[in-house]
Symmetry: D2
Subunit: 332 residues, 4 copies
């Protein structure tokens, strides 16, 4: 249940009430908002005179639900706003991993040349083998920060586990919670305490319901800047790396109020399929795309097969513009 | 292995050679084509002087493979041609089941009013329960034939099992092999002996490789008019009915030479998601869409939740036109 | 809904009543049984005085449901009875495919030597490629019949599609409906009209609910001798061929009244895992096992990797006996 | 590649060599062991005279592989040893969550009364919703420690994320890495630095290969006491909570040298199926079982539906003993 308290009630009193009824307490646009589990179906008697408005839910998808907030939330990434009524589809590009200063600078330049705003690059790679390249770590984060300085780009990078979440929050403009980390409460609870945008990727074995509940961890902790990212689920089909769940995206658009960014690169796993899938994504009227591009994919230290060349990335943007336009959006 | 025999060899001699080496024998554009299993990697010595050209394959995806025929095949559905270089996306509409003359006539009229050409409607429904509505059977087929007469529409309907495949071949313009029937060799081998277009739906538990091999049953039997139809696979996600596998579509576009029609209605299972998914499909540059529409979905005898109203179907066509155009296609 | 009519009502009258209320009509142990869809929750008023007993169901799992018949049904396979209170676990052995008289006779001899009773062997193979070995067809069926004559064995073989179901019913003692054919109403409806036992394999993409509903096609048509066979479902895991769903078996044991035979050979796909999985199956207190064995698996024309040698099969029986005993069953 | 250095080489020199060739370095039974990625197929020339023995691998399953160490590893849990040649199947019982001192003491007493040795109980619950019961945290760990003191039991409990892994290592005898945390390198790397046994649960969307690679994180960091735990994967079937992958267990037994403990409670999700599945598990000759039991499952704060009563747990042990015996094992 979500309860909006009357505006005559102070923040401190709201906090006390929350503690009494074991609810989460956040403030949103000046309103004191209390959130209990969805099992609570009636306003607790002892606070009924303090409640302005309340919402009852069939399950724990509450703050993210359209039945609470029917309009899509807005999130600012640097100078770009997505969601709300903006009709912006942000194209986020960059390599799978930050590998060197030269490499990441070329990526940054590419984006600037194309008029784009947001650079991705992994520093703590959630590899499934200890014997694979694990990322540059803090050195990589510093390179990303340098690119922000030099080029005015926003940067997005991933927390692999809770041991370095503070670094990630410090260095990045958008905190990425990866598919393997999205149940990690150490990460989610830390993200709840900042106001930076948090992009949560759906686990490849995660239901839509669980996915949205991961967002609830951040929202109920007080950070409203949450973006959902579908990046492919694991199915019996192995001809492609994962299966991009666009039925699921239609479901998210119907039932949640959060902006949605799609990642066709990881879903497909092969560069040949990325452009055509990206077109499909953009035609759905989404808020952004994450596309992996590398100056020389063949020598990339991770995800070599799915990264586009810079040439391919440039062409992709050109074919995406009219598709976005055909559904009333623009690529930014 | 596929072998093209020299054009000096008569059809009868080709048939003899095929029998000798236990190969399939078809003629395509005047050429005698022999097909063996992909395990054969070298031209059999005894016929090496009779072979004009040959292709070796890593698996049994042969006639359907782009490495044999790199350009997309053309298929005619009545007056409409799809595939090849046509850049046509045919919108096939109609109800899940033919339920009555009035009902199917309203569907036919809708299509004609919208300038569309092809009517769908199930007569033998592959229900999973014996206690559900099983379709009108032959009476339904006759109603479809009547609509063809009255309105000049092509009709497509589904064979549930081999006991009525002859009826289906007789009455329909496009033979649909449903998701549950696509391993049915009784159906596939019958389809191989006609020249009518065959639309094969992917089973919801079927790999891409197996899917294309179902087409090989028809192609190797001599019918070149095969269309592939992705309609959603079964995954752990149950928020939607199935999961439309657009990564798989990218794979099919890359590796096969067959036209592709998509069915977002069955994948999604809920009308709310059909339009946005249909936009995603069309943006991929596909050859057609199957969309279920019913004059009154609430009382439909099957698939009530996923059928569009006629109003919604009309609006859908309008929003799809610019999307098709944005990728160089037109809706027909 | 299932209705038992009063025993004062004749079979003909029962048939009339069934037609009136659009119900299936079977007789079981002298009782006239009517079955409607599970949507019917109340006894139709016009027949209320003719009904002795009735059962309401939440879904179309009705005749197979323990809430209708709480004890496990008995099925006779030749001289062996399984199910009921027999505590028999029948071990059915034999090759994937009947390949030659010598081959199948060796299999038959092996079974006889081990005191076993039932021989399996495929004649119409549901291969996914037209270029693979498709089985010996009718010639194979005749060889199976010959083995029955010579050795007194029961034989079980599979219908691939409806075009040869009559042959299968004629030649086999147990009709196998394979995983790819289990939605095939041409097969299921034919099986409903015989009294021979029907073993229905679960499709690899089939839910438990749908699986049991396939049995309802046979049961509601009047054949009570139905056996369910779990043989592995398709999941994301590809280290093994399929995933044997023993949670599903626990579910079937809890909710259905049908005997259960398990097929670890197809689930595993590799001979090394068959014995250990077979032990797991037997420990669940099941009614039978289907195990593929071949005199020389390396040269088998199908499923080479998963067939046991005759030596391995013999050893398997020896290790299974104490496991069966430990749960109160015996191998037969 | 795994390399055993000659025993003339000191530990310090081994460490230097490891650094040179960027390998992991552990000592095992007095041998200096170096591990590189499996991409390395030849002994680096500069150290070839220092190598006693080496193993090449097709993938990054190396230290856990039977082709490195063909016999099953032994792991000690308190006074009980599993794996190796012990033929012990340890039955670990206890509630899903530690809820109170009384509750956990009743669990402890039950185990002691049954002659069992190891108590499970969650303190940091990896719930998918922020609004569910999250566990008692450190207070729960202290209660577990108290039970160890009072009853001489070993305790096993789960790390939810890296923020409290130090506590878990301090308070528990076996560190459980849960299904949602098994990619968490913050946890895995911490586990590598202790010598306490680590039980790694397979993620429900995790391949067997990735599962074993999670063990490689711990093994390559120097902790040899790793146990694998299969607890059900997520498939399309929703009649049960997950699908216990016993084909996968056969695969693990064939290819890895690690002890295996199975968790039928989480796989099934319903108490009715736990005993029959447990029998299946034990018949495979496994090293242990994790079974959830609660003094009053109906009021349990988590996993209410799948926990056995103490009475059911007691009966379960009785039916498991003869099954274990039938395959040469004993329940401990």
């Amino acid at each position: 249940m979500i309860l909006h308290l009357k505006n005559t009630i102070s923040n401190q009193d709201a906090a006390k009430i929350a503690a009494e009824i074991k609810a989460f307490h956040v403030t949103s646009n000046g309103t004191n908002v209390l959130i209990t589990g969805s099992g609570v179906k009636e306003v607790p008697a002892q606070i009924s005179d303090k409640v302005d408005q309340f919402w009852v839910f069939p399950n724990d998808m509450q703050l993210a639900s359209k039945s609470y907030l029917p309009t899509k939330r807005e999130v600012k990434i640097g100078n770009v706003t997505i969601g709300g009524t903006t009709k912006n589809t942000v194209l986020i590009g960059g390599p799978c991993s930050v590998e060197s200063e030269e490499q990441i600078r070329e990526s940054a330049k590419l984006l600037v040349d194309l008029g784009l705003s947001t650079l991705r690059g992994g520093c703590y790679k959630p590899r499934t083998s200890p014997y694979s390249f694990q990322g540059m770590g803090l050195d990589g984060l510093k390179l990303l920060a340098q690119m922000r300085e030099e080029f005015g780009l926003s940067v997005i990078t991933e927390a692999r586990d809770a041991t370095h979440i503070d670094e990630i929050i410090e260095y990045s403009d958008v905190i990425q919670v990866g598919a393997k980390a999205m149940y990690d409460q150490g990460i989610l609870r830390a993200c709840a305490k900042t106001n930076k945008p948090v992009l949560i990727k759906r686990g490849f074995g995660t239901t839509l319901q669980e996915f949205v509940q991961a967002a609830e961890f951040v929202l109920s902790g007080g950070n409203e800047n949450v973006i959902l990212c579908e990046r492919g689920i694991r199915t019996f089909e192995t001809g492609t790396r994962f299966t991009l769940d666009l039925c699921g995206v239609a479901w998210l658009q119907e039932y949640t109020n959060l902006p949605i960014i799609l990642d066709p690169s990881h879903a497909m796993g092969y560069a040949y399929g990325v452009p055509v899938l990206a077109k499909a994504c953009v035609a759905m009227g989404i808020d952004g795309l994450l596309i992996e591009a590398h100056r020389n994919p063949k020598v990339a230290k991770s995800d070599a097969s799915q990264q586009l060349t810079h040439q391919e990335f440039t062409e992709l943007l050109n074919v995406l513009r009219p598709v976005a336009q055909s559904v009333g959006y623009q690529m930014v």
